[in-house]
């Protein structure tokens, strides 16, 4: 555990993911206007950090994540991972989606080993390799189940195992626990922290929950309402596993909540101003 923390500490020195001056315009086809989703976001994530992108729904945090993944592209600005410009999706940047997004026709182990299927690895070898990661996410015994036979939490574990098998430089997570019940969510958060420490991974984790960001993140980027900007970058210096009732936890929570409250007041004021004009 201490090892994981160390890596996180020293990693901040080098910017592993670099988002520079990114703006993203969306064409709203229905109304024929351009919508500014993200406005001038710059961000640096160090190797081994677990950055939580925290913001209200519709603030463009998922869009930012999709751009780091290479699924979407900035209108202006650049995104680079380890010095290389992001121009397409890659196994170097593994994404865990909000919905598990498994191939429903493949059993658990083949979902986990899908990358190896694409590389034409022999079945026996794929099976062995998949087992390693199935064991890590504690799905042992469910190898031959189909995704439709899994609960939401189990399906998300498959999604995580599948990404771990890629041994990516960066793991991107788009509100992966938002549809789970409270208890499963807590379990998954704890497990994610231990996986992150074990693999000394760099993770960008999108969430709208202040609590979740505080339980997971080494750093938290608080985003504003649309158009999304980074309101404040907060370093969380609380040791893992984090106690969500401890005073330092609550102090930070109070601070972030006041930021959010201020933001929504600002947004309301702007709305009022424009309506008066």
């Amino acid at each position: 555990m201490a090892n994981g923390l160390d890596t996180a500490g020293t990693g901040t020195l080098s910017a592993w993911i670099k988002v520079s001056g990114v703006r993203k315009l969306f064409r709203d086809g229905g109304r024929g206007v351009d919508v500014l989703a993200i406005d001038n976001v710059s961000l640096a994530v160090g190797q081994g950090e677990l950055l939580c992108l925290l913001g209200p729904s519709g603030c463009g945090k998922s869009t930012l994540l999709n751009m780091i993944a290479g699924f979407e592209f900035p209108t202006e600005g650049t995104i680079a991972v380890n010095g290389e410009l992001v121009t397409a999706p890659s196994a170097d940047r593994g994404m865990v989606f909000q919905q598990p997004t498994l191939m429903p026709w493949l059993p658990v182990w083949e979902n986990v080993a899908f990358r190896l299927r694409l590389k034409n690895v022999r079945k026996k070898q794929r099976r062995i390799e998949a087992q390693r990661y199935i064991d890590i996410v504690q799905l042992t015994g469910f190898e031959n189940h189909f995704p439709s036979q899994l609960s939401g939490g189990m399906a998300q574990r498959v999604g995580i195992a599948r990404v771990l098998l890629l041994s990516p430089r960066v793991i991107l997570m788009d509100e992966p626990f938002s549809s789970l019940d409270a208890q499963t969510k807590l379990e998954m958060q704890e497990e994610l922290v231990s996986i992150w420490q074990r693999f000394t991974a760099t993770i960008v984790f999108v969430t709208h929950s202040v609590e979740e960001a505080l339980i997971l993140g080494t750093n938290i980027a608080v985003m504003t309402r649309r158009p999304g900007r980074i309101r404040e970058l907060i370093k969380v210096d609380i040791p893992y596993p984090r106690d969500s009732t401890s005073p330092p936890f609550n102090d930070l929570k109070r601070h972030i909540l006041s930021l959010i409250r201020e933001e929504s007041r600002l947004a309301r004021d702007i709305a009022n101003d424009t309506s008066e004009v």
Partner: protein, 280 residues
């Protein structure tokens, strides 16, 4: 797996217990039909009794008293001739429909180039192609196969296109993230994802395949169940007509059953979820 077995056994049990109710209405219809035919209200040649139809059919199948003359014992050959046409046209239509459908669903430029033409051809009833089919292919297997192809191709095509377009975009992203080539993407993601929709099209196709084979045989072919049916009509053998109708019905039903079987094997992952859903 335990729930799997339980669901199956309870399913079988309730099917058996329902059997009594199921058989009741057909039995009543048969009895009424038999009684009506024997009452002499209509000449027996116009509405043959079911017993008469069964007798004729038995001779058509196994040569019992040669009451069906030339056709005696020929059922198997007739059925095989029709089934071959159905299978031929169906197989060609399935292969073309699925591959063209996936191409249209996946590549925008192919959609723009050939979809309008296909949409123009689609509303033309396959039966109206018969004159051209006879001119082009003569009086043999090929016009029937051509007609079956027309009837099956469009439902398979439309459903394949739909299946591709309904594929979850994030599923494609997963594959792209893992470095899938376009070929792998189509073969390992798009095709399996579209398969439920494709099978829906294939099952619609079965019905029209038999319908069109019989139609073609009545007009443009000199063999098969449809030909026997129409020929018997000329010879006022309505018992034979009815026997042919029932034969076609049964064969169509069996074909659909085969497609359903194939579907439940290939879409095993879907049935797994239904069983789970019904379970405790």
């Amino acid at each position: 797996m335990v729930t799997d077995g339980q669901a199956k056994s309870t399913g079988l049990f309730s099917a058996l217990s329902r059997q009594k109710e199921r058989i009741f209405v057909p039995l009543l219809l048969f009895a009424g039909w038999e009684a009506f035919s024997r009452s002499g209200y209509l000449p027996p040649s116009l509405l043959p009794a079911p017993s008469q139809v069964l007798w004729t059919w038995a001779d058509w199948l196994f040569t019992i008293d040669e009451s069906t003359q030339n056709n005696s014992g020929h059922w198997w050959i007739d059925a095989l001739a029709s089934a071959t046409r159905v299978l031929g046209g169906y197989a060609i239509a399935a292969v073309c429909g699925i591959s063209i459908g996936i191409a249209i669903g996946w590549w925008r430029w192919i959609e723009r180039t050939i979809e309008p033409t296909i949409q123009l051809l689609r509303p033309i009833p396959p039966v109206s192609w018969i004159p051209l089919a006879i001119i082009w292919f003569g009086i043999a297997n090929r016009p029937a196969i051509f007609l079956v192809f027309l009837g099956t191709f469009f439902p398979v095509l439309m459903n394949s296109i739909h299946g591709v377009k309904m594929t979850d975009r994030n599923l494609i992203r997963v594959a792209e993230m893992m470095g899938a080539s376009e070929r792998q993407l189509l073969w390992l993601v798009i095709l399996p994802a579209a398969l439920p929709s494709i099978f829906a099209g294939l099952r619609i196709g079965v019905g029209s395949a038999w319908m069109l084979t019989v139609t073609a045989e009545m007009v443009a072919v000199k063999s098969g169940l449809g030909y026997v049916l129409w020929d018997s009509y000329y010879f006022l053998r309505y018992d034979m007509v009815i026997a042919a109708m029932v034969s076609i019905g049964i064969l169509g039903f069996v074909t659909d059953l085969c497609v359903k079987r194939l579907m439940s094997v290939m879409l095993r992952w879907q049935t797994a979820s239904t069983l789970q859903g019904r379970g405790p």
